[in-house]
Amino acid sequence: MFGSNSSFVMYDEEFKRINIVIEKLLREANAKVIFLVDKNGQLISSVGETEHLDTTSLASLTAGNIAATGGLAKLLGEKEFSILFHEGEKDNLHISIIASRVILVVIFDNRSSLGLVRLRVKKASDELGTIFEDLAKKSEEIQKDDNYQSPFAEITDDDIDNLFN
């Protein structure tokens, strides 16, 4: 699922499991918003006060931030810097990498604290790590199956052309 040439696939079941974990984290960490992004900048899920947030842009910039930080880590001989923290006047950002695969972003204000967020994130990270491992296995099994057909196997040239009209 995270190979360079295959697709990253998310199924209903895992999506629900992920949302349960991040919703619990949102409550327990007293956070405002939580979102999960893959390392290429695609938003996987978000919970909390997201109505006034441009989550797509946030996802892309977060991934860029993590990629740049990862570049810095390599230059210093580190595998990665797994936690980033940005402190603002009102809101703060806690960004962490889960199982070297996905990025967890927690936005919180003075109703919470860095210590609490770190503590809760650590626990949630383990749970999320397991889910993403399950997802990787499931994806691999489904794609190995001889009867597997991608939902796009039957799209026609007309379908594609219609997108642009």
Binding site: F8, F15, S57
Partner: protein, 197 residues
Amino acid sequence: MSFINYASREINCKIVYYGPGLCGKTTNLQYVYQKTAPDAKGKMISLATETERTLFFDFLPLALGEIRGFKTRFHLYTVPGQVFYDASRKLILKGVDGVVFVADSQEERLDANIESLENLKINLEEQGYQLEKLPFIMQYNKRDLPNVSSVDEMRTLLNPSGVPEFEACATTGEGVFETLKAVAKQILVDLKKGGAG
């Protein structure tokens, strides 16, 4: 690497505009942004220097509509073209699904085009990709300027394998959507093939 989300019925793909400094990658995205209906686009983000040179990347999310019940979203990125930003360019290529090479048609930029195309190949290989296997479109930009190389000459040097190519003038928008459409189409065709394998 496209992201297929069965839960939200979405498919997300990443397109990267590559090319030498000042070839018009950002201008391509700006034109797409200006001409796209508000409900089909997100905010365009440009991480640029004070002199409007791309520092890290530009980003433009586009929603094209539905295909077989899946919302198709394309994330358009540009790389910083200047030679010394190579480390940043590599990062942006991660997870790419399709590449547009924007070539600067001005005669004096011919060498810069060749160098940038070589750099693209090397950086893709570092990420485990081969340019020949990726959806790839060549755009000859700035055709409106007086001192341009002939398309034949550019083709010989930059597009010997004959991938789809377009003449363009990104400031007026000529060729911009044709290029985008061609790369998006190739990506979707690739997904279709992926399903057969």
